[in-house]
Structure formats: C-alpha cells, structure tokens
C-alpha cells in the first residue's frame, strides 16, 4: 500500500511538473536576453531579470492602450452581461406573465447557437452600423446573457418564498425587491457568473479580431496577432513578453478566486 502511494505521489509530481512547466517556461523566457533565449544547450534561468522584451513589445504595439482597452471592455462587458442576466432571470422567475415559458426557451435555445456560426451576418450588420473599429462594435454583439440567465434562474427558483413575500407586504416594487432582496441572497452565483464572464471577455479573440484593425482599439489577444505580424512568428522574447501580459492577469484572478471561478466554469456539469 505504501509502495503504491509512493508511485502515486511520483505520478502526481510528474503530472504537475509537465502541466506547469509551459507557463513557468513562458515567464522565464520573457525575462531572458536574446543570447540567453537562443543558447544551446538551453539556458534554464536568465542571468538577470531583463525587461528588455517587454519594452520592445511596448515599442512595437501600444501595449498600454491595449491593456486599458482589455480592462475597460472586460469590466463594462461583464458588468452589463451580469446585469442583463439578473434582470432577465428575475422576470422569468418572479413575474407571472402568460408567455414566460416561451421566453425562457428563447433564452435557453440561444446556448445552442455559438457565436462562431453567426460571424458573417453579424460582421455585415456591425459594419452597416458603422461600428467597425469601435468599442461598441466589439462589445454589444456579445452582451446578451443566455448562460448567466440560466444559472441565475436556477438559483432564484431555490430562494425562500417567505422572505420575498415579506418584501411584497412591505410594498417593495420589483426593482427594489430585485436589488435589495434577491441580489444579496444570490451573491455566490453572481460571483461565479461574473468571473466566468470576465475570463471570457478578456480572452475573446475571434470577434474583436474581425471587427478591429486599428491598433488603438485592439484588445490584448488581438494585439498578439499584430505583434506576430510585425516582429515575425518566432521573435520569441518579444512575443512571450506580450503573451505574459495577456495571461498573467487572468492567472492572478484564477489563483486568488479559484474556488468561485472553478464553480462557475464547471456549473454546466451540475445543471445539465
């Protein structure tokens, strides 16, 4: 039994190393000077922490602007998305209107239509609005919340009716009841959905890549393409510095808020 566990431990350690090495390697490589990057045999650790690659990346593409764009679009996008989902789920659960079942099906069925399928008509539409190379062009088409609405609805259905009826007696209107009673009782679900939205908005590539070719309006992942085009596909130091800028913020969010984020990302498995 002990021998078995030693074997298990070895396997676990090996798996951790293999799975973790690429990220560590990226971080180290981004801090290496060219002569250290292109040394044979490989040099494992940089002699000194050299930020030259980051400076070079920032000279080639407006890294600061891209970072601000990504932060802004992520914050606004996920904020609006969560708000839309909360309001919609509230209406679906607490407002007794004859066709709400139909509306629910409309929301849920949208989960089966991935954005990849609709890029061509959406691109044409957004272009006709004059929204190419604009923030709203990146933001608005992806705002609707199907997944979030679904999770919020599932949660709202479990809320104790007595508290909400007390709110009714109190004469609380729907708006107040939503923000004063329902939202405070749903914080874990809201946190999970928000984190999932944040990660998705930050990483989103295909849509912003199609809509934007002005470097000042780009998000970070799209900026990586620009950097590849300008510096070449194998300018490793510069590319990995920018790659670190793209991945590190999400990695930090993940490490700090791991439990909630994982709960949100794996929520589909529980709810079907």
């Amino acid at each position: 039994m002990l021998a078995l566990d030693a074997a298990g431990l070895m396997t676990l350690a090996a798996a951790t190393l293999v799975l973790g090495a690429p990220l560590l390697w990226m971080l180290l490589a981004s801090l290496k000077r060219p002569d250290e990057l292109y040394a044979l045999p490989l040099q494992w650790l940089p002699d000194a922490l050299d930020l030259g690659n980051y400076a070079q990346a920032a000279r080639t593409i407006p890294l600061g602007t891209l970072f601000a764009n990504s932060v802004g679009l992520t914050v606004v996008g996920s904020g609006l998305k969560v708000a839309l989902g909360l309001c919609c789920a509230y209406a679906l659960v607490f407002l007794d209107v004859p066709f709400r079942r139909t509306v629910f099906v409309v929301v849920i069925a949208a989960l089966m239509i991935p954005p990849q399928i609709t890029i061509i008509p959406n691109y044409t539409f957004v272009a006709s609005l004059g929204w190419l190379n604009t923030y709203q062009g990146i933001l608005v088409p992806g705002l609707a919340s199907a997944f979030g609405t679904f999770l919020f609805r599932q949660h709202f259905l479990t809320l104790p009716r007595s508290v909400l009826e007390a709110a009714d007696l109190d004469g609380a209107g729907h708006w107040r009841r939503l923000w004063r009673f329902v939202v405070p009782m749903s914080l874990p679900t809201i946190a999970a959905v928000t984190l999932v939205s944040v990660v998705n908005e930050w990483n989103d590539y295909l849509w912003p890549f199609l809509v934007v070719d002005d470097p000042r309006k780009m998000t970070l992942p799209v900026g990586l393409t620009l950097l590849q085009n300008v510096e070449g596909m194998t300018a490793w130091g510069v590319l990995l510095a920018a790659t670190t800028v793209v991945t590190l913020p999400v990695l930090v969010v993940f490490l700090v808020l791991q439990r909630r984020l994982v709960a949100g990302l794996t929520a589909g498995a529980v709810t079907g």
Binding site: C88, T124, N203
Partner: protein, 321 residues
C-alpha cells in the same frame, strides 16, 4: 409615491384593500397583469432583444446567405439555391477538411477524457500536494487560447524549444513541428489537450466523489483488483459524467479557432484547416461570404446533432441538480 400593495399570500378573496369607487370587477387584476407585463418587458426585454438581434437574426441570415453567391462587402448577390452546398460537398478540399476535423475532434475528445480520468483518479487519492496539482492542471483552461498557442509554438521550436531539449535528452531529434505533416496537427492537438485536461479532470473528480466508497471497498474485499474495480464499479457509475464530457468537449473541439489561428493559420498546405477554420478563411480571407455561410450551416447542423443526442440522453439518464 403611492406604493401599490400586492395582496398578502393566502389572504383569500377579501384581501384587497378597499378599492376606489366602483371599479368593474377584475379591473384591479387587469391593472396588475398590465403592470407585470410592463415590468417583464423592462427587465427581460433588453436581454431578449439582444439575443434576437445578434443571435437569432444572424442565424436566419446565415441560412439565407448560404443560398447566395455573395462576396463580403459586395453590393451584388446572386441566388444560387443549394449551389454552395453542392460545391462544398464536391470540392477537392472538403474530404481533407472533414478528415482534419474528425481527427482533431476525436483525438482531443478521446485524449482529454482518458487523460482527464487518469488525473482525476490520481487527485481522488489523498496524496499530499494534490491541491497544487489541481490548481496547476486547471490553470490553462482559463487562459487565452491565442496566447497559449504562442507559448507552445515556442516550446515546439525545433531548435531552441523546450520540447526539442527534452527529446534530445532521450536521444531523439526534434521533428519539424511547424512544417512537416502530420506534426503541425499533432502540435495543435497537444496544446488543446493541455488546455482542457484540468477541466475534464475536475468534472470527473466531482463525479468520482459521487461514487460511494463502500462500493469500492466491497469490490476490493471481494478480491477485485484496482483495475477490475475501476472497470466494473467506477466506470459504469461515471457513465453520465463521461457522456456529459463527451458532448461538451465535442462541441468545444468543433468550434475551436484561437489555438489554430495563433499556431498554424490552418496550414501548412491546409493540413490543420478544420471546418470552423475553413469558415473563417472562406468568409474573411477569400471573401466568399455565401460559400462560408454554407459551411457555417453545416457546422451548425453538426453541433445541433451532437446537442440533440445529449438532450435525449440527459432526459433519461441524468437527474437535474
């Protein structure tokens, strides 16, 4: 402000506060229904409107566009009926695209399920350091696919990459990952597996925790080997989880774009062009929007078929939480 009191629950028909002089019976109820409708429109309206405008409308337009010969941005479009579909099904490139899509999907889904289950079984044992292993395994799943592609491109660099150093350690020369078939496809599959392994493992881990320990203990007492227990007790009980992952991963693989775009751009010579990637290339590189829409419709039907199987199965097999 005049707050309108909603009736207290269960107060019976006399609960309504004294109504203003002589309303027709039911008019208060009608007013309440109207208010509920107004609130519903206000709260659900924006989300539903956005869904209609940016999901359902373009879906229908996509079907329509697939019957046109139309170049992106061109003022003229010509109706060709099923012409685009006929062209797609008879094109030389189609067999290649479908093979690549099938190979990519089956290896990523199969690989992620097998490796993910292995990792989950490992994480399920009370070994020290399993918290760290969990974190490290799941981290790639939250990272930008495009960035991850670049990072792995460096690792695969045939001369200065980590992979070539490891292979040299085993006395093997590095393959030409970027240029020589089938290595570019292998490269993308490896990256995709790395990115999704932690997700699969965590879902399996949750499933394993639903397998009663007594069942496993009983099997062990009956003299079943760990392998036998896994095959005859654990795997059957995990069947719903496996099925869920099979469907989810299949949908994800069929739609994957970022990793391919950052690593190979569908090349070299189209050897990593999946159906999804072909839609992008035809639509936005070659500008053949009508033809690309036909591809999008075919992909949509494929995804729908996978989902339909899931829905049928789920209703019978898995109870909702």
């Amino acid at each position: 402000m005049t707050a309108v009191l909603a009736p207290p629950a269960g107060a019976g028909p006399t609960r309504r506060p004294a109504p203003p002089p002589s309303p027709a019976p039911g008019s208060a109820a009608r007013a309440r229904r109207r208010r509920a409708l107004a609130w519903f429109a206000l709260l659900a309206g924006p989300n539903v409107a956005l869904l209609v405008l940016f999901v359902y409308k373009p879906l229908v337009e996509s079907f329509y566009l697939s019957t046109m010969q139309w170049n992106l941005g061109s003022p003229v479009a010509r109706f060709v009926g099923l012409g685009n579909y006929v062209e797609w099904f008879t094109a030389d490139s189609t067999a290649r695209v479908l093979t690549t899509t099938a190979v990519f999907t089956l290896t990523t889904v199969g690989g992620a399920l097998v490796l993910g289950l292995g990792l989950a079984l490992l994480l399920d044992r009370r070994l020290p350091g399993r918290g760290l292993a969990r974190t490290v395994a799941f981290a790639p799943y939250v990272l930008s696919g495009y960035a991850v592609g670049i990072l792995w491109l460096f690792i695969f660099d045939p001369r200065y990459g980590l992979m070539s150093a490891v292979l040299r350690g085993f006395g093997v020369a590095s393959p030409q990952w970027y240029t020589v078939e089938p290595w570019p496809l292998v490269m993308i599959i490896v990256v995709y597996l790395w990115k999704h392994l932690g997700y699969v493992a965590l879902i399996y881990l949750a499933g394993l925790q639903g397998v009663p320990q007594d069942l496993r203990d009983a099997a062990a007492l009956d003299g079943a080997s760990p392998g036998r227990t896994l095959r005859s007790v654990v795997l059957p009980l995990l069947a719903p989880t496996t099925f869920f992952l099979l469907v989810t991963m299949m949908l994800a693989s069929l739609q994957s774009f970022d990793v391919i775009r950052s690593m190979t751009q569908g090349g070299p010579l189209g050897s990593t062009t999946t159906l999804m990637y072909q839609i992008y290339t035809e639509g936005f590189v070659n500008g053949r929007a009508g033809y690309a829409s036909a591809g999008a419709t075919i992909l949509f039907l494929l995804l729908l078929a996978v989902t339909a199987v899931q829905l049928r199965f789920l209703e019978r097999k898995v109870h909702y939480a």
